[in-house]
Amino acid sequence: MENKIELNVGPVHPATHGVLKTIVTIEKDTIKDLEVEIGFLHRGKEKTAEQRLFNSYFPIIDKLDYVGALNWEILYASLIEKAMNVDIPLRAKYIRVILAEIQRIMSHLIFIGSLSGH
């Protein structure tokens, strides 16, 4: 029992994108228990949204995902359009699809890139 060591790994570690803290219980060289702590990037966006006009929330929704910002913007804009019963032109729909695809590809490339190390 006295051989057990509790070790905090994180919240910041070079191998993690974003921030994650793990509390590991170690006995000799074996990990016996691990507890994950998340929420270091939590910024209370929902509460912020409640306190702003819908159009001044766009700069914030951008920052939810730094490689897929436009996807979030499109999602948020579509939500407001649905709530307000607004129809957007076909051209705008095409532009949205193109932008969403570009962001999706970018996001995948960054994922693959970060797998290979820095």
């Binding site: 905090n8 998340i38 929420g39 939590h42 209370g44 929902e46 509460k47 306190q51």
Partner: protein, 147 residues
């Protein structure tokens, strides 16, 4: 999955609405969820809506075999507890912790009910409608928290 199947299964406990199931009595939650677990193997999301004085809990289930989803709505009064479903769906563990963290909904028999996103010494539950952003919260630095 036809929603009407659940009507025959549970009788008067659930009400079948347009695209969701409405559970009339929260004491039957475990029974209904156990039965949903036969058809749906993922708890996709637990979304809470605060409509004072009630909390509306949306349990959204899905499954690996196809893209079918099922929404179960339970309503509880402010201050009431509800049974945890983390024994049936392990993913409910974190979802319920989030609901507790942001709304203050207490889940009975939860293995580890503590804050998940916010720091342990955060004052109040921010997504409740009666939560007011005071100066104390605006200037909160979290320096009291010991790592």
């Amino acid at each position: 999955m036809e929603l009407t199947n659940f009507k025959t299964k549970f009788g008067d406990i659930v009400e079948v609405k347009e695209d969701y199931l409405y559970l009339k009595d929260k004491n039957y939650l475990l029974k209904v969820v156990r039965s949903i677990h036969i058809d749906f193997d993922i708890l996709f999301m637990l979304a809470v809506v605060h409509r004072p004085p009630k909390f509306e809990l949306n349990y959204i289930f899905s499954r690996y075999s196809d893209d079918e989803t099922l929404r179960l709505i339970v309503e509880i009064q402010d201050g009431e507890h509800i049974e945890s479903i983390s024994n049936i769906f392990p993913s409910a563990n974190w979802e319920e912790r989030e609901a507790y963290d942001l709304f203050g909904v207490v889940f009975d028999n939860h293995p580890n009910l503590k804050r998940i996103l916010l720091p342990e010494d955060w004052p109040g539950h921010p997504l409740r409608k009666d939560f007011i952003v005071t100066d104390e919260i605006k200037h909160w630095t979290g320096l009291d928290l010991k790592f």
